[in-house]
Symmetry: C2
Subunit: 457 residues, 2 copies
Amino acid sequence: MNETTTDTEEVVDPAALAARLADEMPADIAEALNGEIPQFAAAVLQNLPLDTAIAALDTPGLRDPGEIIEAIPRDRVVPMLSGMSADRVADVFLELDEPVRSDLLARLDTETKASVRQLLIYPEESVGSLMTTEFVSVPANWTVAQTLQHVRMVERTRETVYAIYILDPRSKVLLRALPLRRLISADPEDSVLTAAPKRRPVTLSPLASRDEAARVISKYDLLAVPVVDGTGQLVGIVTVDDVIDAIVERQTEEVQRFGGVEALDEPYMDIGFAKMIRKRAGWLCALFVSEMLTTSAMQGFQGELEKAIVLTLFIPLIMSSGGNSGSQATSLLIRALALRELRLIDWWRVALRELPTGIMLGSILGVIGIARITFWQVFGLYDYGPHWILVAITVGAALVGIVTFGSMVGSMLPFLLRAVGFDPAAASAPFVATLVDVTGLVIYFGVAALILRGTLL
Amino acid sequence: MNETTTDTEEVVDPAALAARLADEMPADIAEALNGEIPQFAAAVLQNLPLDTAIAALDTPGLRDPGEIIEAIPRDRVVPMLSGMSADRVADVFLELDEPVRSDLLARLDTETKASVRQLLIYPEESVGSLMTTEFVSVPANWTVAQTLQHVRMVERTRETVYAIYILDPRSKVLLRALPLRRLISADPEDSVLTAAPKRRPVTLSPLASRDEAARVISKYDLLAVPVVDGTGQLVGIVTVDDVIDAIVERQTEEVQRFGGVEALDEPYMDIGFAKMIRKRAGWLCALFVSEMLTTSAMQGFQGELEKAIVLTLFIPLIMSSGGNSGSQATSLLIRALALRELRLIDWWRVALRELPTGIMLGSILGVIGIARITFWQVFGLYDYGPHWILVAITVGAALVGIVTFGSMVGSMLPFLLRAVGFDPAAASAPFVATLVDVTGLVIYFGVAALILRGTLL
């Protein structure tokens, strides 16, 4: 690894920092600028060679590009925007406020303006918002030599030239995708259509989800996927580097949401205190209010509690086991659904697996629980009363019931969420635990009523 | 999307299925074979054209490749293995049992054998085990035209030709990486060294982690990263498609482990019952045994419990809030550490953020809790006794303490795990909840002792 860590603390002059960064990789320049305020970053960019500044602005890792762009004088920033990839410009425009946004859009050259306008109409999580319009396409009646010449000419202005898209000369419908590696090995006199693989390329709709783009790229090991509209015309391509960023973003979202937080969308240390509270308080309050049902349930069992206070000793132990088994099942099913290993209609197959799994896991915990109570009682560490054997059996039986219930709820919840149109990944560990807790109490006291009736209760 | 779903249920004859699959994409062939037993899949592959069979075997999505390979006669399988990419062959060999493994290895051609042997020596989660040895490299004294001619010749046998690696003619040390797009646009008479970018390429060590490969590929938007040994010699490359698979695998692992399960490493429905129990029971039992401390804690507070049974009503509510806030903080920090937004030495900055965040979140829940008790009491829904105001204050104050404690433990645990050499992602939601539960009880009864001393206690 030969990345350069730039200790920006010492440098106070933008020109000096620019001189030091000029030969770095764009991602490293972006990283160095992330440590500065946008106005300073803007000054550094203006001191870099235009190509280098464009490459740095094009890096998705550069934070607050909107604020940086705003801080650069209009006549200096327009050439930068024209040089950037259209999809990145569209992303940046989403961050700009009016009137800067309209003003800058008006100053762009016609081609860039049209591309950016087109990209801005697609919804945020769609393939359309992820794609770029800077692809290489040639009509099907061109030769290999003509195409290669064209690729050489446009290479500098295209995000990727490693896939060449062959269009019907009249209808502009996408016919084939030709990898550059095959183009350079083909006979120059051949038609491009002859050189291309015979099968129709895998395509995406601009309204498909980013997850779908990630799945297709990863399944077929592609460097880019063409995006076609309803008439079969090529409107853009999604490249593998954008997909990787989307996958990593999605991964962060998935873990955060599973932890019971609204996805942050920015780095942990960058987010303001008020925003951090908002992102966390929502779910925390919702879970707290739902969990209040446990208080109501316990109030309902107050008679039992007063008669058999020994039962309260195991409440945290039993409830947490239900939550834990539920959290396990949910995490497994969220991923199985995300990876399309399972579909909605498979819910019953999963239920049939989780039922015996839950019973087995509950029995293991039940045996440990009974052993614990017996050990403490027999060795005089604690006195669970004359009916301690029945108490132990109550705890063991309740564990079987609660762990089984937890596994069932935890595994079915992601299916239920998908069935009603939500993302299965919204099923967080705290959410499942809360769902299981109330029923867990009811199961515990129900089992206790059965086993201890006539003795403790 | 024009993926083909192959309804394999109707087909019983391998030759017929092979005929139907022959024109499909390799990933779709793999998907169709995944629905069959290995012996049948092996028969289908033998009925496919050799190139197609090789492409299907090369697809990482094909399951149980080891069993399929074993089911193909040796003389038929050796040409397939020779045609496959060396890194995939090495992965498959890891799944083969002896003596088949040694027998097959011996039958491979010298070049493939050497590559596979080399790849097999690297540890499982290392860059070395992810890389392929099939790259394009040329000596620095070649011309652009020579290099282009070489690329055309070797194109079919290389995993990627989109980056050409330029080596010192004598020492074989890696000097530059030249993207194919620049090669084809360069002057044919120039030396490759002139055509290449001036900076040294970003490289990886074969012993670096897969996560590191993913981070570098995603940061620098590369299609491949060269892997060099201690002397600077090129030993392999990691390609973007392998990295995507590694990222997705890692994502699944991360969610599963955060859910408190050992990572499954296979699809949910494929895993056997006994293995599923093993993967889940380990953590579940460990958490259960730790959670037993809550029982011991409650036994210690039995005096208080008997005097003020009203306190037990809020135990599940208060404990779950601590676990939830901890789970939130852990999920945020796991990702911040994985994305390298934060480093180990930043722990105190995080602690200084989590402290006020926890107090604020705890106060919000505390107010809701006090409101709930007051409402129930005032409207006669439940009678919390003459000291209900003190009980409500106890619950509110305990919530502030427990939520703050949960946020602190949840945020520090990933740092602690990294500090002692573990993966921060081992900090699961159930793990954090369990850690917080025992202390949560102590805080609750401690606060109660302070506030209720002389009245209820």
